[in-house]
């Protein structure tokens, strides 16, 4: 056993924890900081409630984690999962196609394979740790990056409401259905209306806990993670995750802590004001800072590829190893917006795909070394695919349907659905076969053990991507 592995054992005191230990986490939370405000304990109880309704399916661990990889900018699905058996593919893309002999073939597939830069993906696929869902999209596709990304993140074709994962958090903790906070404004009627139930006894809008149910790595937290009540934690680098001013003079520490940990006083600070929002965020920042910095300071035991996605997934792996109770991690990769000079088997798009495949592969290697593989499922999506025909600048313009990817031992491995036809097109674009919300539904129901019908406000089961253990 390499010594790095021993270190893992040393620094990971708990194996995949059982539900009882998870309940005990409120104690961990309370001791995390000397002055944990009362509401944090309340939220820890919320986590307790959150797990209470879970039924334990054999083979599926209770402390499941979902990692979402957002491939931003519109990934060219046709050059990722390559339909080398279709002549139309080569005709539509004389300058940027992947020659048949270069495509990495996948067992059990006929006429399709993956981009040659994705050797890490093939490795996972060959070991039954990866799935491709083909031709994923939604009705009346929108070709605006922002609109389509919002549609994917809200799981709503009008792109309104909270994020789909935020709604999952809300549903688990507070019993909400689909909300409106995704608009980042205070109330659905605009800023003039005040929320009437300011102090109506319901769960106060406190949201984050030191072990947030959602952590997004990056500058800003994605809409997908924004619930009405539960907001994710997000950060880009752990070193910057504290106030350095307290090192200047010892006497600054106490006043700083007192002031940074204030709670908005009702009547003095309206709860829907930006001031109240900032005070809540400030308090969350203090409590989270300590826990997360400790977690991320632990280096992974395995090697991650250079690049942003690799380092983001390395951080996620450290937080998983440290035993944070976080249920969903969110990372981003791209931009995949290859309007010009996209390249074929090499070049810009190839580099993006290589980084994607090798980073996810490294992440699962690390999960294996930690003994956490069974706990982690990964889902990768992009807001749309690209048009079938290349454009005049050796690139591709915004399109519609594209493949989604899932990873982990509890994923039903292999290829789901058929490749969209390259003949039966909608004004030059692929027709989708599988609604992306049916993939969300399968993950929510079968992996997260949630009620997808309530969260997605509709029945979207059309595909089953999680093993029934």
């Amino acid at each position: 056993m390499p010594s790095a592995f021993c270190e893992t054992l040393m620094t990971t005191p708990r194996p995949a924890f059982t539900r009882r230990e998870f309940l005990g986490s409120s104690l961990t939370l309370a001791s995390a900081s000397l002055a944990v405000p009362a509401f944090l304990q309340g939220t820890a109880l919320g986590m307790h409630e959150m797990l209470h309704g879970l039924s334990s399916a054999p083979g599926i661990p209770d402390d499941r984690i979902l990692v979402v990889v957002q491939l931003g900018g519109g990934n060219d699905g046709l050059n990722t999962v390559v339909p080398f058996g279709m002549n139309q593919y080569y005709r539509a893309r004389p300058g940027i196609n992947i020659p048949e002999k270069e495509v990495l073939t996948l067992s059990g597939s006929d006429g399709i394979g993956i981009h040659p830069a994705m050797t890490g993906f093939k490795d996972l696929f060959d070991n039954s740790l990866a799935a491709i869902v083909q031709g994923v999209g939604y009705p009346n596709p929108n070709r605006s990056h922002f609109k389509s990304m919002d549609i994917w993140q809200t799981a709503d074709t009008t792109a309104t409401g909270d994020g789909w994962l935020g709604r999952y958090f809300d549903a688990e903790c507070c019993g909400y259905g689909k909300g409106e906070s995704g608009t980042a404004t205070k109330s659905p009627k605009g800023h003039i209306d005040k929320e009437p139930n300011d102090k109506a006894g319901g769960p106060s809008p406190k949201a984050q806990t030191s072990d947030s149910p959602g952590i997004a790595i990056g500058r800003s937290a994605p809409l997908a993670m924004q619930g009405r009540q539960i907001k994710p934690i997000s950060f880009e680098s752990a070193d910057l995750f504290r106030w350095a001013g307290q090192d200047i003079h010892q006497s600054l520490k106490d006043p700083y802590n007192q002031i940074a940990r204030r709670e908005p006083v009702p009547g003095e600070v309206p709860s829907d004001s930006n001031a109240a929002f900032l005070m809540r965020t400030s308090l969350d920042a203090q409590v989270s800072s300590e826990l997360i910095r400790k977690a991320v300071a632990m280096r992974p035991t395995t090697q991650f590829p250079a690049g942003q996605l690799g380092s983001q997934l390395a951080m996620v792996s450290s937080m998983i190893r440290a035993g944070l109770k976080t249920r969903v991690y969110y990372v981003t990769h791209g931009s995949f917006d290859t309007h010009s000079g996209q390249g074929g088997q090499q070049g810009r798009h190839a580099n993006l795909l290589r980084e994607f495949a090798s980073s996810v592969k490294a992440f699962y290697d690390e999960m294996k070394a930690q003994g956490n593989t069974d706990r982690v499922m990964t889902l990768a999506f992009s807001e749309f695919g690209r048009r079938v025909s290349q454009n005049a600048s050796q690139g591709t313009d915004h399109g519609t349907a594209a493949p989604m990817f899932l990873f982990g031992p509890m994923v039903k491995p292999g290829i789901h659905g058929d490749h969209p036809s390259l003949q039966d097109l909608d004004d030059g674009d692929l027709k989708y076969k599988i609604d992306f919300r049916s993939v969300y539904a399968s993950v929510l129901d079968d992996w997260m053990k949630a009620d997808s019908k309530a969260i997605l406000e509709g029945s979207y089961r059309g595909v089953s991507v999680v093993k029934k253990a």
């Binding site: 605006s144 980042a184 800003s220 910057l240 504290r242 001013g245 600054l252 965020t281 313009d397």
Partner: protein, 524 residues
């Protein structure tokens, strides 16, 4: 000029805090314009003010203050010189070089090709370095300008007509665009749109240089309609397709707009109900003739200067509460009546009672640029290392000249999360003390900040108050936060007393260190 120094404590306007915002677009009465209102105007229409500046505007009253800020061309400022930056770094290859390159390609002369590639990489490296210099140049200009509204409006337009250097890879074109935005900052929006479709950086960013007569690229037409001038729901996909045809041939050569007649589609188009063989100008005119355009700009202006509204597609004007609807329609009406001149609309807004409503004062989240530039301007800190400040802007989510997308910055609460909050605290600590953020060499910037000037106005009004820790804290909080949250006030006053009670510059700096970490300091 002499102004009567007034203590903020005595000029609080006892405006009631109504449940609904005032709909009144009538001008604020001079007697209702005091310290708080002057401070508000300086932050929103600029980057905050020093105590002396606040007092000056308070004494001037609303009309003179707004005119002073708005008619900034009467104020002398550094002219922008064309030769400040190198325009040739990314110039196209000369005829001679192009031929040599093609020859090398044909002959598969790997050595020669490698030389070309290396030379190209060198130029790209120099250009990225120049881009950083241009970022610092703009940042410095914002810090030092005597015309704060000019820079604030340039920043406003940069966030709407957003262009990212990463796609352009030509720093000089970004510099030219910045000048275009500044030239039109409070000018005429129509003029700006006509210039925009001729702007090399924008043409490149939205691929119009790749647009061909027989294969129009829709990007520029789409974003002008969706994000620059109309908003979702006010055009059809067909308008975009036809708009793209109208814009064919609008490209650039080197640093200049070039109308490529060969590639322009002369055919008839139908855009927003206008049918003619429209060109790019015809496309812009069709947009300017809609009602939606002035409404869209009014809403963007309102969101930037007054209070956030959800995007139009989520909450159309017609579904807003009556107050906001009235205000927006007054603004768009003024814009339209002035044939898209921006000044009358801004003037009306800055003078309106609505603008100074208690609900809005101090409830806007400072953008990273406003936070940093505002701290330097209002507290008069040393400028320090512009490179570090520029990096911090990036970490806080506002890398100028690199907006995250053509949608610009989302603004508002999206600036704030647990991590950007720490970056905000740490960059203020750097400004006040010279202690560099993690990741830079550990030696602090030794320029010492002298905060004593902040107290001089206060001391002028009441010498005895300036030695009383409680009253000094009260004054400092009104200046920096525009409010005095009781629990924090007590903590700070106790801190000052525990340091011996004398208000030395060090105690002042320490107080500011803590105040600037406060959630409330993120607001203006």
């Amino acid at each position: 000029m002499t102004t009567q120094p007034t203590s903020p404590a005595t000029t609080d306007k006892d405006t009631p805090r109504p449940g609904k915002a005032s709909a009144s677009m009538t001008a604020i009465r001079p007697e209702r314009f005091g310290y708080e209102q002057a401070r508000h105007l300086l932050w929103r229409a600029g980057f905050g003010g020093t105590p002396a500046q606040i007092q000056t505007l308070a004494a001037w009253g609303p009309e003179r203050s707004v005119d002073y800020l708005l008619d900034y061309d009467k104020v002398n400022a550094d002219p922008i010189k064309g030769d400040l930056f190198d325009r040739d770094i990314m110039s196209p290859l000369s005829q001679e070089d192009r031929e040599a390159y093609r020859k090398a390609q044909r002959a598969q002369d790997e050595d020669a090709l490698a030389k070309f590639r290396a030379e190209r990489q060198n130029r790209e490296r120099s250009d990225r370095a120049q881009m950083t210099e241009i970022q610092k140049w703009w940042l410095k200009r914002m810090i030092e300008t005597p015309r704060p509204l000019e820079e604030k409006m340039t920043l406003f337009w940069h966030g709407i007509l957003a262009t990212n250097y990463r796609t352009i890879e030509n720093s000089y074109h970004m510099y030219l665009q910045n000048q275009m935005l500044r030239r039109n900052a409070v000018g005429n929006f129509g003029t700006m749109l006509f210039e925009l479709i001729r702007d090399p950086a924008m043409i490149k960013y939205l691929d119009n240089d790749e647009s061909r007569k027989n294969r129009p690229n829709e990007n520029l037409a789409r974003e002008i309609m969706e994000l620059f001038a109309l908003g979702v729901g006010n055009y059809t996909e067909k308008d975009i397709k036809e708009g793209a045809r109208a814009l064919t041939g609008y490209t650039f050569r080197d640093d200049d707009f070039f109308y490529d007649q060969q590639n322009h589609d002369n055919g008839e188009k139908s855009i927003l109900g206008k049918k003619a063989p429209l060109d790019g100008d015809g496309f812009v005119k069709a947009i300017l003739e809609t009602r939606a355009c002035s409404a869209y700009i009014a809403r963007r202006v309102y969101t930037f200067f007054v209070a956030e509204l959800p995007p139009m597609e989520r909450l159309p004007d017609r579904d807003l509460d009556p107050t906001t609807r009235t205000v927006l329609s007054s603004l768009s009406g003024t814009l339209l009546a002035g044939k898209y001149d921006l000044k009358p609309m801004l003037r009306k807004l800055f003078l309106s009672e609505h603008f100074y409503d208690q609900r809005f004062m101090g409830d806007q989240i400072k953008s990273p640029v406003v936070l940093v530039v505002g701290a330097m301007r209002s507290l008069n800190t040393p400028v320090r290392d512009l490179g570090i400040l520029n990096d911090a802007l990036d970490l806080m989510g506002q890398n100028i000249f690199f907006p995250p997308s053509v949608k610009g910055w989302e603004g508002g609460r999206s600036w704030i999360n647990t991590s950007t909050l720490f970056v905000r605290q740490n960059i203020l600590t750097f400004l006040l003390t010279g202690k560099k953020p993690v990741g830079y060499d550990a030696t602090a910037d030794s320029t010492k900040y002298d905060p004593s000037g902040l107290l001089s106005e206060f001391a002028k009004a009441d010498p005895s108050a300036s030695t009383d820790p409680g009253r000094v804290v009260d004054y400092m909080m009104k200046l920096t936060l525009g409010r005095t949250p009781p629990s924090a006030k007590e903590t700070l006053a106790n801190f000052a007393r525990s340091r011996g009670g004398a208000i030395t510059p060090d105690v002042m700096t320490a107080l500011l260190l803590i105040i600037t970490t406060m959630p409330e300091y993120q607001l203006c």
